[in-house]
């Protein structure tokens, strides 16, 4: 909503500058987003009189004019067809910078010098007319600046209104708040006009088929109007608030809408097929051409204004092309109505449009301001279109809407706001907002119908607070509430894991979880995704089901920007749809790794990451959390078939780990290897022991023995260490695999594994013989189970 500072000044007294006004309104909840000064760039434009016009000696379409500007006469070459002597015109002097961006200089046109420019409305940025130069009122004093002469200086306040403030969609509404804040009252325009003897009701009757949707419909008829351009002041006023001038009749309805907030509609009366207005619901599929020349298909949500035979307008949204006021219009049927906000909203959403009228109706107009708005328009039509106003209003208003009565307890006001306001002060504020208040111990407040947003005590408390000033109320710095607050286990572990991974060199990422189902399905074909009904695009139409998917997107983005070494993780949700329930939202931990193992260093050989880097990170994390991870080979689609594993904790699957498959990398246009893991956070959390118990430190020394064996390639090292553990039992404290070797000394198809075994007994010092005995048993068992051959040192 645009509000002209000058227009406001016409309606209410205050002495704030535009900036201060903006601050006051903003503080009171009527937010002024920007202030745009008007009349800028017209400082060097003055009123001049053309004293002589001669044809240009060299050019047929140019004229050489002599223009008096007060102190001197200027020679100006002009090409406008409407130049003539003895008219007053706007003259841009040398040095002027017009709003359209033109800078005026001395020029020579076909050999004749020109010292300025005679301007059109368009060139001055104050109108649309560019057919010729602007002709000014002959009474204006020569030499006066144009802004002074036409009273152009103004500031436009751009309001960003909250949806509750329907009343502020009018200059009078904003003026009311200004008055309440400043302490003055609105000077509403006096409405006076003549009615002729003919009766409106002989010309039109109004029938409302759905009074719930249209509680009130008032019609007036204005005869013998003369359709013409609006006067300059009216054009200026409309343009200043961002509306285009059409003709005097349409402009009057728009002007009244801006002034009072009430949308009006002017029909060409003679295009009605009968003397009737019928308000009814549209038929499903009914077609109608609106005044923007679009044929619209309607449904029952739409309310129609008809003449009983054919529709003439979509109620509260847009008029029809056929019944529009045109240059041929003689008689005008003026509609001023009140429609149910919900009906207008549903109707315009169905049509996918939003108009000045629908915006106001869907927020709630004043049902009791209907006739006043119509009368204001009659006054102006009489004045500006020489219309004759028929006697009386045909006003169909079967069930009048009465103002709300609200009880306001002054002590409740002070209790909520922590203020110390006297009842008298509250009454004063409410009265300034045009409310009627009867004073008792409690206040009985009658809320005018132009404020449909106020129906409860709390609403009035807000009104008092915002007019009194939020910044004037107390600020309490004392704390209260419960003594114990706690973070959930989940939150504590989330923070811990994030910080752990950051310490391990991983960047945390946050990805867009609205993703492309086509790509997601390639990673997890069986997933039942949560699909959006109204996505922004197909590429963002489902909630993600895989963090690996999202992380690959991040890797791709970075690799394309030459960031090859990527170590990232995300703790985020994946979403799965469920029948008759909210979708399942699982918190997952995703990790991905690509590029170099270590930062480039003069003392370190450069190597690429492999599976053991990612496995190692997870093992460290497991040790940090006090769980142990096991891997089992299991094929999952995004991972390479020979490098795809499930991670288990105590036999429960908590996630997957492996190298991302080539065809998946290609989808993301990633070159180089990527290792990724994804863990279900809740399952991981369930595996973490929450209670810790102290173990006494060992009292007796350990004995360390190494064991190197040759086994077939397909024997997994973990099976061997498990076996060692089984055979050695409690005496084995720790087994560390410290070497894996394949090479010259070893026959192909075999590998050498070397373990460091630490033996220790709880209750005594182990002797060499005891250790040797167990060690031998282990060697024998490994030979038996795996065909292992002991390597001699």
């Amino acid at each position: 909503m645009k509000v002209s500072y000058k227009w406001l000044k016409d309606l209410v007294d205050f002495d704030w500058s535009p900036e201060e006004l903006a601050t006051r309104l903003t503080d009171a909840g009527v937010e002024v987003e920007t202030i745009t000064p008007l009349g800028m760039g017209l400082e060097k434009v003055v009123v001049g009189e053309i004293t002589r016009v001669q044809k240009h000696p060299q050019a047929n379409h140019l004229f050489v004019c002599e223009v008096e500007i007060g102190s001197e006469f200027l020679q100006i070459v002009c090409g406008a067809p409407n130049v003539k002597e003895k008219v007053k015109v706007p003259v841009a002097l040398i040095g002027a910078r017009l709003p359209i961006g033109v800078e005026i200089r001395k020029t020579t046109l076909r050999g004749v010098d020109s010292f300025g420019m005679i301007c059109s409305e368009k060139e001055l940025g104050i109108g649309e007319d560019q057919k010729g130069i602007m002709i000014l009122d002959s009474r204006l004093r020569i030499g006066l600046t144009l802004t002074e002469a036409l009273d152009l200086e103004d500031c436009i306040l751009n309001l960003d209104l909250t949806p509750n403030r329907a009343d502020c969609l009018s200059i009078i509404g904003v003026a009311r708040d200004v008055g309440a804040l400043f302490g003055s009252s609105v000077k509403k325009p006096q409405i006076r006009f003549n009615e002729i003897d003919e009766l409106t009701k002989d010309w039109v009757e109004v029938e409302i088929e759905d009074p719930a949707a249209c509680p009130r419909y008032a019609a007036r008829v204005i005869k013998d109007v003369e359709i013409k351009d609006s006067p300059f002041w009216l054009k200026r006023k409309l343009e200043s608030v961002g509306m285009r001038s059409i003709n005097n009749v349409v402009d009057v309805t728009n002007f009244v809408m801006m002034e009072t907030g009430h949308p009006l509609h002017a029909f060409d009366y003679d295009l009605f097929s009968q003397k009737k207005v019928v308000v009814r619901r549209a038929e499903s599929g009914e077609k109608f051409i609106t005044l923007d020349e679009v044929e619209r298909s309607l449904n029952k949500e739409n309310l129609l204004i008809t003449d009983g035979k054919k529709p003439v307008a979509i109620a509260g949204i847009m008029g029809g092309m056929e019944s529009e006021v045109s240059s041929n219009t003689k008689n005008v049927l003026l509609e001023s109505a009140y429609f149910d906000p919900r009906v207008i909203r549903r109707g315009r959403i169905f049509l996918g449009v939003s108009t000045e009228a629908s915006q106001r109706f869907e927020r709630g107009m004043d049902p009791n301001g209907v006739v006043n708005a119509a009368n204001r328009a009659c006054q102006l039509l009489e004045e500006l279109a020489d219309g004759k106003v028929l006697k009386g209003v045909v006003d169909n208003y079967p069930c009048p809407i009465v103002p709300a009565q609200v009880t306001l307890r002054p002590r409740r006001v002070n209790q909520i706001l922590a203020t110390d306001l006297k009842s008298k002060e509250m009454v004063q504020i409410l009265k300034r907002l045009d409310m009627e208040v009867s004073e008792n111990q409690d206040l009985r407040v009658t809320v005018p119908t132009f404020r449909p947003d106020l129906s409860r005590e709390i609403d009035l408390i807000e009104e008092i607070a915002r007019i009194y000033g939020y910044d004037k109320t107390e600020t309490s710095m004392k704390a209260s509430g419960s003594l114990v607050t706690r973070l959930s286990e989940e939150d504590r572990f989330i923070t811990r894991i994030k910080h752990f991974l950051v310490g391990k060199g991983f960047y945390e990422v946050l990805t867009n979880n609205l993703v492309d189902p086509k790509i997601l399905k390639r990673l997890c074909p069986e997933i039942s995704t949560v699909n959006l009904q109204n996505p922004l695009s197909q590429e963002m139409s489902v909630l993600t089901g895989s963090l690996v998917h999202n992380l690959l997107g991040v890797i791709s983005w970075n690799k394309k920007r030459k960031e090859e070494d990527v170590r990232i993780f995300e703790l985020g949700k994946v979403y799965l749809t469920r029948e008759n329930e909210l979708p399942k939202e699982r918190l997952h931990l995703g990790l991905a790794l690509s590029g170099k193992r270590e930062m480039i260093h003069w003392g370190t050989e450069e190597t690429e990451v492999d599976l053991y880097d990612l496995k190692g990170i997870l093992e460290s994390l497991a040790s940090n959390l006090g769980v142990s991870f096991h891997l089992n080979q299991e094929k999952t689609i995004p991972l390479k078939s020979d490098s795809s594993f499930q991670i288990t904790v105590d036999g429960t699957k908590v996630g997957i780990l492996g190298e991302v498959a080539q065809e998946i990398l290609e989808l993301f246009e990633i070159e180089g290897k990527v290792f990724a893991a994804e863990l279900d956070f809740e399952r991981l959390l369930a595996g973490i022991p929450m209670r810790k118990t102290f173990q006494p430190l060992p009292k007796f020394p350990p004995v360390n023995r190494d064991l190197a064996i040759l086994v077939e390639e397909d024997v997994l090292s973990e099976r061997i260490s498990d076996k060692i553990k089984t055979v050695g039992g409690d005496l084995i404290e720790e087994i560390t695999l410290f070497d894996v070797y394949r090479g010259k000394q070893i026959s192909p198809g075999k590998k050498s594994l070397a373990f460091a075994i630490r033996y220790r007994a709880k209750d005594k010092t182990l002797t060499d013989q005891e250790v040797e005995g167990i060690h031998q048993k282990i060697v024998l068992e490994l030979e038996k189970s795996f065909g292992a051959i002991l390597r001699k040192q």
Partner: protein
């Protein structure tokens, strides 16, 4: 025995004589090997002890050891002296280029949104708020209805919504958590609810389809607008610094009444007016208000008994203000060159 004694004394003298001549550490080291090395002259006396008669061994052994200790001590002393005298040569040999890069490991960073979220949560946690969470996919009732957004009301246009189907949607704010918590528990409640939200808005430098909010609310008997102003002022001073000016102004949210918008003096121009604050001097930082009685009724609280306040802030916006980031999309691109900066 005498011979042994004499030879020992002779060797000792020799050492001292030769030592006096040496003035280079390198030569000194050679000399040390000559006398004290494994096959050194002084060392050999100790080895040769087993060749002297048994009865003399203790005396001679003691003597030999004395001499050895003496010689060692004098070597030590001389080395120290020479080191002081010719430090440059010594250092050149062992020079450590401490400016060579150390063996650094990779260092990661938390996402800036997480960093600021942790900060925000930490401040409120310190003020006695506990953390609650809710689902991203919500019903119409929790996201709108229970929060006093009537169906067919223009207030719904304030939050463009992604729908799964007519009744199921992606939450547009974290306020549904208010309802979920209040339905389950009784006051006093002092809660913050961080989480992801979604808006059906075109993606550009200023808006993104997903973002993070931190919601907060306090319900008790006698909670006032002054408490709201206090807790939020304290929060902002904690986050942006004590000296920053704040203001509260009127606003509208269906689930609060009175509603307020909180501004802080522009962090860039300190209130003078600049491009960041659109020359207003103030920056919108969060929305707040006293919880609307309708909301209390919806969760079965008596609005005559309980009052409360609620507030909500966008983490992206605060992070952008704090770090001077001008494009919200950067948060979701996860460009390492961006993440590395925080």
């Amino acid at each position: 025995m005498k011979k042994y004694q004499e030879d020992l004394e002779k060797a000792r003298k020799e050492v001292f004589e030769e030592l006096a001549k040496v003035d280079k550490i390198k030569n000194l080291e050679e000399l040390k090997i000559k006398y004290l090395g494994r096959k050194g002259i002084i060392t050999s006396f100790l080895k040769n002890l087993k060749e002297v008669p048994t009865e003399s061994r203790p005396t001679l052994g003691k003597l030999a050891n004395q001499v050895k200790d003496q010689v060692e001590a004098i070597f030590k002393k001389r080395i120290k002296e020479l080191k002081i005298r010719e430090p440059s040569e010594e250092k050149r040999i062992e020079l450590l280029d401490y400016t060579l890069p150390g063996r650094r490991g990779w260092q990661g960073k938390l996402h800036p949104i997480t960093q600021i979220s942790e900060k925000i949560i930490g401040i409120f946690y310190g003020m006695g708020f506990e953390v609650a969470k809710g689902p991203d996919v919500e019903t119409d009732y929790y996201n709108f209805g229970a929060l006093n957004f009537p169906k067919d009301h223009p207030a719904r246009d304030m939050q463009d919504t992604f729908y799964i189907h007519d009744d199921l949607l992606l939450r547009t704010h974290t306020s549904p958590v208010q309802i979920r918590v209040m339905e389950k528990r009784r006051p006093p409640l002092k809660i913050i609810a961080p989480g992801r939200c979604y808006r059906h808005e075109a993606i550009n430098a200023r808006s993104y389809c997903t973002f993070h909010q931190v919601e907060g609310f306090y319900v008790d008997t006698d909670v006032t607008f002054a408490d709201l102003k206090g807790v939020l002022s304290a929060f902002v001073w904690e986050l942006f610094g004590k000296e920053i000016a704040v203001r509260f102004r009127g606003s509208f949210f269906p689930f609060t009444e009175p509603s307020a918008e909180m501004d802080i003096a522009c962090v860039n121009c300190k209130g003078k007016g600049c491009g960041l604050c659109k020359y207003r001097g103030w920056l919108e930082i969060l929305g707040a208000g006293m919880i609307d009685p309708e909301v209390f009724k919806n969760v079965g609280y008596d609005p005559e008994v309980y009052t409360g306040y609620a507030f909500g802030m966008g983490v992206e916006r605060i992070t952008m203000l704090k770090y001077g980031i001008d494009d919200i999309r950067l948060f979701y691109e996860n460009d390492l060159r961006f993440l590395r900066q925080f």
